[in-house]
């Protein structure tokens, strides 16, 4: 009987198409953005370690990296690690980071608080590292996504042509790479080949943009050419989140926009988005001088734990 039910379910699911992922699966009624940290200048580079501790950078501060422990307290994490615009933990426990101001790609040993320059004269903005140690970083002014193999130290362009490649993230199984375009309307999907090459580039996701009113009437209304798509992150269900000027927008694994979560009133903008917390249940946003977080029904993915099947099996 069980088999019959299962087979029917699969047949029906196939007929119904991809699984819908409405906002009710992400938001908790009554939960809203709460201030997590403030009095900064330009916060960015949000990320979490495998325990759910949350980290971010203040690009313009001379202090270094900050940490928000799951209880919500903000502490200075690594002194002197300044000017970082994007970072992720690698499978080796190191932090890989983009130092935009000094045009360096670096790795940081958090235990020794030691910084190693991996590449100079690059224009890194944000990055992601796969379980194989393949590092991809966006070089926004060069319209380029660059591949850096952390095991061999070899570096080469992986894609050229996105107007302003900015945010970057992986599917939970780490087979798909997605890059946001700060000056365009799409987030682009690539297949990661076994050797790290990026293949089958596609404008898979279309971001919602602000209207562009004009006195002239057109058949359909005009929208802005971009919504300033910035930092990206993935959750355990394969949703792709991107920080934009309209808020955090998320897409289901088949590329369909499924929700827009505006930021709190009065912010200057959202530069990036990431999950953190003991169960990775908090969605964090970096908003210039402030960092906010919101408790959600979903949970983020820890890339450094390796590829994960999705959606996760219900317990």
């Amino acid at each position: 009987m069980k088999r019959i039910i299962l087979t029917s379910w699969i047949a029906l699911a196939g007929m119904l198409g991809a699984q819908d992922m409405p906002l009710s699966q992400v938001l908790i009624p009554g939960e809203d953005w709460r201030l997590a940290s403030f009095r900064h200048e330009f916060t960015d580079a949000p990320t979490a370690d495998a325990k759910g501790n949350f980290y971010f950078s203040d690009l313009r501060s001379e202090q270094g990296l900050y940490q928000i422990i799951p209880q919500g307290k903000v502490v200075l994490y690594l002194k002197g690690m300044t000017g970082i615009s994007g970072m992720k933990f690698g499978p080796d426990g190191k932090i890989y980071a983009c130092r935009a101001r000094t045009r360096e790609l670096v790795s940081i040993d958090p235990v020794a608080n030691k910084l190693t320059v991996l590449a100079k004269d690059v224009r890194p903005n944000d990055l992601v590292v796969t379980h194989k140690g393949y590092l991809y970083f966006t070089e926004t002014p060069k319209k380029q996504v660059t591949f850096y193999n952390t095991k061999t130290g070899k570096m080469k362009p992986a894609d050229v042509g996105i107007t302003a490649p900015n945010g970057i993230c992986l599917s939970p199984d780490q087979g798909t790479l997605v890059v946001s375009d700060f000056r365009g309307k799409h987030c682009w999907a690539f297949r990661i080949e076994p050797d790290g090459t990026l293949a089958h580039k596609q404008p898979y996701m279309t971001m919602r943009r602000k209207p562009k009113p004009s006195q002239e009437r057109t058949i359909l209304p005009e929208f802005q050419p971009s919504c300033r798509g910035d930092g990206m992150i993935t959750d355990a269900y394969g949703r792709y989140y991107v920080a934009t000027e309209l808020g955090v927008q998320y897409f289901d694994p088949t590329g369909r926009i499924s929700g827009v979560i505006p930021g709190p009133p009065g912010i200057k903008g959202i530069t990036s988005v990431a999950f953190g917390g003991l169960n990775m249940e908090y969605l964090y946003i970096t908003c210039f001088d402030k960092v906010y977080r919101m408790k959600t029904r979903t949970r983020g993915i820890v890339y450094q734990n390796g590829p994960q099947a999705y959606p996760p099996k219900k317990k």
């Binding site: 039910i5 299962l6 029917s8 379910w9 029906l12 007929m15 119904l16 198409g17 991809a18 819908d20 992922m21 409405p22 906002l23 938001l27 599917s171 199984d173 780490q174 087979g175 798909t176 999907a189 297949r191 990661i192 080949e193 076994p194 293949a199 089958h200 580039k201 596609q202 898979y204 279309t206 919602r208 602000k210 209207p211 562009k212 009113p213 006195q215 009437r217 058949i219 359909l220 209304p221 394969g238 808020g247 694994p253 088949t254 590329g255 369909r256 926009i257 499924s258 929700g259 827009v260 979560i261 505006p262 009133p265 009065g266 590829p307 099947a309 999705y310 219900k314």
Partner: protein
Amino acid sequence: MRTTLFLFLTCGLLAAADYRPGPDAQRRDGVPRGKVILGAWNDCKAFPGTTRSYWVYIPAQYDPKRPANLMVFQDGGGFVRENGHTRVPTVFDNLIHRKELPVTIGLFVNPGSVPGAEPGNQPRRNRAFEYDTVSADNANFIIDELWPVVAKEHNLVIAKDPRTRAICGNSSGGIAAFTAAWHRPDFFGGVISHIGSFTNIRGGYVYPALIRKTKKKNLRVLLQEGRRDLDNLHGHWPLSNAEVSAALKYKGYEHKMVWGDDGHSGRHGGSIFPESAKWIFTAPDFKNEEKAKPKIAEYKHKKDSERQEGVPRGKVTTHIFESQIFKGTRREYSVYVPAQYRPEQAACVMVFQDGHAYLKEDGDVRVPIVFDNLIHKGEMPVTIGIFVNPGHRGDAFPENRWRANNRSYEYDSLGDEYARFLLEELLPAVSEKYNLSYKAADRAICGASSGGICAFTAAWERPDAFSKVYSMIGSFTNIRGGHVYPSWIRKTAKKPVKVFLQGGRNDLDNDHGHWPLANEQMAAALNFMGWDHKFVYGDGKHNLQHGGVLLPDALRWLWAGHGEKE
């Protein structure tokens, strides 16, 4: 979870009407069978990296010397299956044999997917991208990439007239069929859409608006839809199909709308498919429907809209305002100050667009009378009313104040410009004389027609400034893109705004849209996202009568609970 879902679906199916394949979908002795040949398309240029299956059906009667008709099916695998929902090869065999259908070749195409590069990697499913995107890409793929190769391989020749070629699909395949014909009417002349997803999966909600404002194309369109169809984050399927149908009728397309009682299933479309296939190539019974004469209801004011003895009267003064945000415009605005107003207590605020229409004591809306009565009875807080006209460029205001020349730009445009005008210019100007509350909870906004969508837009853009909206016969249509709101509402975190919508079944149906359906879409979207809202749907036309009579009720509802701790 899976069992629950299965049971739920089963119950849904049992409760719905019993649609099944009819006699034309059964195999008959003595009817020659066409060939069905499976193919794979793995080197796709239109959608790089995708792989997919396709099938071609060649009728037994096909003769290469006589060009045949063609029908393409999206999600082809489901349509070609011998015991599937539609069973196209059997239906075609039977109908062609009885000469009820021209000799017709079938091309059944599945959506593509990009396989994972390594074991354990999920494929990138491309169905939504190919089917739900409003673009020519999928049509071009079928017409310019796939079909020429299939035709050559199997020596297939089709007739030149697009009316001999149709495209059919279910759900996203349904909108894909329409999209293909819409972008390539040079190739496809007929569309059969079952439970079509003319919703906001990837922007497909634009079709009613596009159809109304685009020169009529040479297309014949059959839509099948079920009253129990989906209502989810992407949209409301029955209302969206009704909107497409209304737009096609408005433009005089050869169009047939078939309603059923099913949900999101291919069975009803499958059961009527033999008739649909015959209709799409000939439309024998087509005639433009005459519009039935509407029954217009009359709405009469009640006590709260009449002057009552012993109720203190507020005062109305009128002023001129020159805007910097809408440069070069001037406008009149009036301020109603209730008798109960005390300068030491910040008053609540309600802003009325097209303010001139709300002030007359014997008019449709009579706001000063209603405010006097309700404030006196304590049914709404002490509220200063601001009645603002749309801006006008030029020396003299037009005799008809609805015709101010910047009205459409200010009211119908999407975006925050008008909200900024109110919050950065007009309210501060009124605040110089009166103590106005700046809290969203104390501020309401109202308007009718374009003023109605304008009121909603202000609260949508600035829910931190306006928490209550009263829209009468709101123009949530494509005057300047306002048809987007139901789609945006369904995919945006709920805003803390109460919305009272009034609509009329006999409201406008014109180039910009269908007002009654547009308001139904708004109400359905607010309902889906759980907004605090109320929709009163009457039998009125495009005027303020019903909305005016409803004002006391709308105000009581909007201000209910005001002042209590949130």
